[in-house]
């Protein structure tokens, strides 16, 4: 499987995974059978934008616009896509 993240790719949460805000954790989490991943702020912001329509490029652009002071975030965002894909939290829409 090609795991290179392309700008035009559209990703969505994997089947049987749920993404939600957890007040008690003060963070976003991904839930799946018998497990949970707590997402740091930035990671949560990426997953939050996966609506089945937004491309990777759209997500990068939107995050840059939302966090104009953050430097070099494109690399972090792509890194998060790569991690999420390698862990099978997300899949191609």
């Amino acid at each position: 499987m090609d795991n290179t993240i392309q700008d035009s790719d559209i990703y969505t949460l994997s089947m049987h995974h749920r993404f939600q805000w957890e007040e008690a954790q003060n963070s976003y989490v991904i839930l799946f059978p018998e497990g949970m991943v707590k997402l740091h702020g930035g990671a949560g912001e990426v997953i939050k934008r996966l609506d089945g329509k937004a491309t990777v490029g759209d997500v990068v652009a939107d995050l840059k616009a939302t966090f104009p002071d953050a430097e070099n975030i494109e690399k972090d965002i792509i890194g998060m896509f790569e991690l999420a894909l390698s862990k099978a939290w997300i899949r191609k829409a």
Binding site: R18, Q20, P33, M36, V37
Partner: protein, 411 residues
């Protein structure tokens, strides 16, 4: 209850995936949250599995189960404390007719919910209601690829039914999560079991080597495989992972009797795991009631927040300040927190000693003897004591002394 290892394995899975979770349990004072709520809604069960970890005196707790309203209140209270993964278990939870209502409430509250079942009692109508109600997944116990072993170890004729239920779970779009408890009678079929799971379309399979609590402790000499068999099973599992090309996630839960360090039981006492039993007792682990001089809170008369945070029972073995030697000064104590309190007490009579699994424990010979006993043809040939109401009543009445006489509490 169909899963011998749920406590350890599930918590570890939760934690391993949780890269940023603070699980620092080294200090005596910890910031804990009951991320996992296990609702053991009933101890009644149509299966009679020889390896069940439910208490052998469960028969005392079949007439005083919590009501639907009490369960819903417990779910709400636990959610406020941060509980997020919900296991609905037993016994066989489907023997209650209110699981549909519990599922709806769980979804409303934002739990990721899991029905842990033998499959007995799962019908098209019920699974439809679970799906509509928002149940997230179903974990089905499987026992073997052969009808003979399935029916023997569960002491029921359930082989065909399990295959039907597996198909039903799949056809309703649920992820297939299989749990197979491993013991002497099926450990030689590891490859075939994995192939069966793959053919059923399983997304996850847990190969849970029997841990010895409850009924499985009574039947320890009859169930324990040899160390060589366990190593071979692990080798086959690893080979399957590498070569089959299957996408199935496989969890192999290592049996602690054959390692020289104990497991970090429940990922620490009162750290991430909370159990509410059929009658409402609130426990930090499945078998905590075997421990002496402990008063566990009950949801019928105690606030769940107090139970978790402040009750003496939940604080008793939190962190490491309770430890004795050799644990107290051991440089590995943070790795396993001294192992399992229940196993330690059952086998040694001292709940604060080191888990006898540890080679540094002065009681380690008890584990070595248990392994020898399991290979002694005369002992291993004793009949299995199946988990059923009749045997539970006999154990409560003080019978079966030859099988449990050396233990320091009823398992």
């Amino acid at each position: 209850m169909t899963q011998a290892s749920l406590g350890e394995s599930v918590v570890q899975k939760t934690i391993h995936a949780t890269q940023t979770q603070n699980n620092g349990v080294a200090a005596s004072v910890t910031q804990t949250q009951p991320l996992w709520l296990l609702a053991e809604v009933t101890y009644r069960c149509p299966l009679h599995c020889a390896f069940c970890y439910n208490p052998t005196d469960y028969d005392k707790h079949t007439q005083n189960e919590l009501t639907t309203e009490q369960w819903i209140q417990a779910l709400r209270d636990a959610r406020k404390l941060g509980a997020i993964q919900l296991g609905i278990s037993g016994g066989e939870p489907l023997l209650r007719d209110d699981i549909e209502e519990i599922v709806v409430e769980a979804r409303k509250l934002g739990y990721y919910s899991n029905l842990i079942t033998s499959g007995v009692g799962l019908t098209e109508k019920r699974i439809q209601a679970f799906k509509e109600g928002g149940l997230d997944h179903i974990q089905l116990s499987m026992h073997d690829i052969t009808e003979e072993i399935n029916n023997f170890i569960t002491n029921t004729k359930t082989f065909e039914l399990k295959k039907k239920v597996a198909a039903m779970i799949k056809s309703h779009g649920y992820p297939m999560v299989l749990n197979v408890v491993i013991h002497r009678y099926n450990i030689g079929h590891m490859k075939e079991i994995l192939e069966m799971a793959d053919a059923l379309g399983a997304e996850y399979i847990e190969l849970a080597n029997t841990q010895y609590y409850g009924w499985s402790l009574v039947n320890r000499s009859q169930l324990m495989p040899t160390k060589e068999q366990v190593e071979e099973a692990e080798r086959i599992t690893n080979e399957f992972r590498e070569k089959s090309g299957s996408k199935m996630k496989i969890f192999f839960v290592v049996p602690d009797y054959f390692s020289d360090r104990p497991k970090k039981c429940m990922n620490g006492w009162g750290e991430v795991f909370m159990i509410v039993t059929a009658n409402g007792d609130v426990l930090p682990c499945h078998s905590a009631r075997v421990l002496p001089n402990m008063q566990f809170p009950n949801v019928k008369d105690t606030d769940l927040g107090w139970s978790w945070k402040d009750s003496p029972a939940f604080n008793k073995y939190r962190g490491d300040s309770w430890m004795k030697e050799p644990c107290r000064t051991c440089d590995e104590k943070e790795k396993d927190l001294g192992g399992c309190r229940c196993q330690t007490f059952l086998l040694t009579g001292d709940a604060e000693a080191a888990d006898p699994v540890c080679s540094k424990s002065p009681h380690h010979h008890l584990i070595e003897q248990a392994i020898l006993d399991s290979r002694n043809p005369a002992i291993a040939a004793q009949p299995i004591v199946f988990r059923n109401d009749k045997n539970s009543k006999r154990i409560i009445a003080g019978e079966l002394k030859d099988r449990i006489g050396e233990l320091h509490a009823l398992p």
